[in-house]
Amino acid sequence: MPSAQAITNGTNGLSLEDEDIDFTDIEQKYALRFDEGLDDVILVDGVPVINQSRQQRLFETIQKRFKSHAGIHVDLEGMHIPYGPDGESKGYIFIEMASPEDAALAIRLMDGYAFDKKHRFSVNRFTDVEKLANLSEEYVEPPEEEYKSKEHLRSWLSDYSGRDQLVICRGDDVQIAWHNKSSQPEVAHNRTRWTDSYVQWSPLGTFLATFRRQGIELWGGSSWDRFMRFAHPGARLVDFSPNEKYMVTWSHEPIQVPDNLPQGPQYFSAEDEGNRVAVWEVRTGHLLRTFPVQQDDSAGPGQLKGFSWPFLKWSGDDKYCARLTPGQQISVYELPSMGLLDKKSIKIEGVVDFEWCPLGDKDRDAIEAWGDGKNPPKGAKKPKDNTLVFWVPEVDNQPARVTVMSVPTREVLRSKNLFNVSDCKLHWHPQGDYLCVKVDRHTKTKKSVFCNLELFRMREKDLPVEVIELKDPLTAFAWEPQGSHFAVISSNDPALGAGAPGITVKTQLSFFHLHPKGDFRLLKTLDNKTCNTLFWSPKGRHIVVATLGSSQKFDLEWYDVDFAHEIRQGSASADPSEDVKLIGSGEHYGITDLEWDPSGRYVATSASVWRHSLENGFAIWDFKGAELQKHVQDKFKQILWRPRPRTMLSKEEQKKVRRNLREIGKAFEEEDAAEESNLALAHRELYQRVLNEWKTWRARSRAELEELRKEYGKESVANIPQKLEQEATEEVQEWVEEILEETEEVVV
């Protein structure tokens, strides 16, 4: 094997003196790079030892084996076998492949190939041989990397005035901005072409995910440095686990593992090839597992049959995630190993859908109190297991069934049979207190559809169920995030089934609540609406109903479902239906999206250029429907509130704040007033400055014009308005002489 040394020394004619000269620097500079030219040469070890006469047969056999086993054609000319002095071969051969890719394939497929009973191939890249041979036997400890402290990832929460942040995408720009009550968002960070498509917050607001061709990047901290990159080429969807420990990405393209891909826990390896979904650990960036997705592209671009997102559903505590194989099974995986729970899936014939029970504040408190379970404090109860609910449709004589199951015990907690079911939707209360199964039922003739709500009480023994029957099909359902109200939108409009885009359907809006007597009752129904979407305030009590996706109606309505809350002071109300009040309404022309801020104080509505190009922009409203700001911006794409993590205050502290709200509020009010007057002053100054700049510029250009006039020796002929004014009000003096009397006097 010729080395660089050999080549340079091989140039004959060097005098002896020259040999003393240190050439190493030049040699290093001009050293040939073998890995470029010899990439397509492989070394196959474990070949039978032969003599010259059998060379042809051996080559032909090897050629055949390569063809049959790896599907690679090898040229006989490309094979080279070295012989020892005794005429016996050395038991290895060199093969020059057609291309480096072929060589890579051969290494992957032929390495470890059993040529016959005694001989097993070991295939290596020729260029690696030297490297492997020179491998130092001695272990060298890698230098310890210096610890670099990172920025606090939750620094935004320590904003003095407790403002919320927004991310705004417009054109190629992505802006992180502070939301201000009375002035427009204050841009804290602006980056052009931060993302190729859209951006997404992680569920607790710690990271901002951006999408690039090469993969997904997470950003955070006050200076928005990159936190981690996830090399999943072409990833277009990302889904975080509820505590943002893990992340699932999906790419339309199957994963390919090129040979030059770096190896490590953060990168794909050969067994990931062809998969489309990847699960990552956020903090380390490690790849946990990949999944194949059977997707059928025949439905046309953008519509993937047999693929639903999120691909994996997460339990509230990030301990498990689960995947549905429709009609067959639910596969539950344990984190962080991503191994199948108990090594087998839960087989459920015909299963259509399932949902995990979310963790409520109570559950989180319980988990925190319990700790790791080794020495729980007194009085702490073991947190309850995760539960999930799934449903199976009617098959033959079997009724449809909704089942609540505990995980990991796989114990069925409750199961209910249903009849005449055409579809079910599973709605968990965000606190995990209730479960509502919305059952679309058909009459015996299957001509008309009506709706049942099956309400499970999750916090009571044996999970009692009550049923509310509704005459009309439901189009939307939403639980109040904190509390026991829920709102539904139903419709008996015949246009509902047609489902043509842009058509406005007449709808009914109804509110239900948990009656003090202990059952769920209708609170109020409002008829003759066009709304089709429900948005509860994250703190409950207030709700915005919106008409989205229509081409004529863009109505927004704000309701308070507990209007007399302050007056009643906790006592039961005489007429609960009086408690639901319309407190504000508005219209955002061309609205496509609506989002509450995490504190439930503001609502952002937006019209995105992704849907249409009419009056793109966003507006910010307060919780009672007063429009605070409106910004119409060309090429506006997206606005998202930065989510907040759970409060750090204990229950007692929260209570204390609530009790002293008025006094605390006073201080803030003063600050607000001061800020507002400051702002007004600053505005005033700005205007004054702009005006003065204008005046200076005008004075200069006027003087220049005057000079020019003189130079040209011309009078002003421009249409100066003052001059016109003078001409128009020109005073004309007229002398009128009138002869009143004429007398002739004869002078004698």
Partner: protein, 348 residues
């Protein structure tokens, strides 16, 4: 402010122009007719007939004696305002898209279209103003600026006719030195003195001078209007609106820019009036904020003109109507930003 509706055109308006005193209003449209109106009551004074194609542009001289029009029949015509007589016809190879008198009304510039292998150009003609011989005009332009690059769409004379300003289809505004005694003919690349990309690659639809011509406003399909210093071509102010703009004009006595436009005419039938935004919009000249909007037209607004003394403005739309609005006293008395942020007359 009750508008006067002038319905003397059967097709969409191309340009309207007040005379110096503001008592007459001239309008040209796609229906080949040039109309003259009394601006105070909307009565039609008369028509100028003879063009055989869309009339693209009109201008009247400072004394309201001569009228110049440019048309798609490749002609530029000179008319006597009072009699309606056509005095002279210039013939070109392509349509005359824009005409304008010089400040002293002794010269006329015309922007010709680039078409059928002909390059776009600006040509300047000397006008013989002698009433006895004014039917005899020189057919030879005193100078021609040929555009090798993007064609010009609008043009005007700078103060004292010292420069010619052009606005181009790629959003460029360029300045050419103009010496009446020694006019220079050539291609734009050699003659251009300064230029600025004012409208980011989108076509410039209008260019109107301030009353003393020291600055001007351009409107573009990029949904913005720009206020530009004539001498330095520096963009002083930007008015960013929501729709493509077809026209912009500077109010001579109050600090407003009036802009008009709307959805492209070809898209109008597919969108509602609300989406079209066929309102004239008033922007504060200095603070770059929108102050008012006035609906009325049911199609895009193609052209806006303001009374030279600032007493009225007129808008001409794709709908074929001209609307003349006389301002109420409130308009002149109001102090929108308070008394200390008012602009005196000489600072306009």
């Amino acid at each position: 402010m009750r508008p006067i509706l002038l319905s003397g055109h059967e097709r969409s308006l191309n340009q309207i122009k007040f005379n110096r005193e503001g008592d007459l209003l001239f309008s040209v449209s796609k229906d080949n007719i040039v109309n003259a109106w009394f601006s105070h009551n909307g009565e039609r004074l008369g028509t100028y007939e003879g063009h055989n194609g869309t009339v693209w542009s009109v201008d009247v001289d400072a004394t309201s004696t001569l009228l110049i029009t440019g048309s798609a029949d490749n002609q530029m015509r000179l008319w006597e305002v009072s009699s309606g007589k056509c005095l002279f016809v210039w013939e070109f190879n392509t349509a005359a898209k824009r005409v304008a008198f010089s400040e002293d009304s002794t010269q006329v510039l015309v922007v010709t279209e680039a078409r059928m292998g002909y390059r776009g150009a600006v040509q300047v003609f000397r006008i013989n103003r002698d009433p006895d011989t004014w039917t005899e005009q020189s057919k030879q332009p005193t100078r021609t600026i040929t555009f090798s690059g993007p064609k010009a769409t609008v043009a005007a004379f700078a103060p004292l006719d010292q420069y010619i300003v052009t606005g181009h289809e790629n959003g460029k505004v360029a300045l050419y030195y103009h010496d009446e005694k020694d006019p220079e003919t050539g291609i734009d690349a050699e003659l251009e003195e300064k230029s600025v990309d004012a409208h980011g690659g989108e076509v410039i639809t209008d260019l109107q001078m301030s009353s003393d011509r020291t600055y001007f406003v351009t409107s573009g399909k990029d949904k913005s209007a720009k206020l530009i210093d004539t001498k330095t071509l520096q963009i002083i102010k930007t008015y960013a609106t929501e729709t493509p703009l077809n026209s912009a004009s500077i109010h001579p006595t109050k600090p407003y820019i009036i802009v008009g436009g709307g959805q492209e005419a070809m898209n109008v039938t597919t969108t509602s009036a609300r989406q079209g935004r066929f309102e004239t919009r008033f922007w504060h000249k200095v603070f770059e904020e929108e102050c008012a909007r006035l609906p009325g037209h049911f199609g895009p607004i193609n052209t806006i003109a303001i009374h030279p003394a600032g007493k009225a403005y007129a808008s001409g739309g794709e709908d074929g109507y001209v609307r003349v609005n006389w301002f109420d006293p409130g308009f002149f008395n109001s102090k929108l930003y308070g008394p200390d942020l008012e602009l005196s007359l000489e600072d306009q």
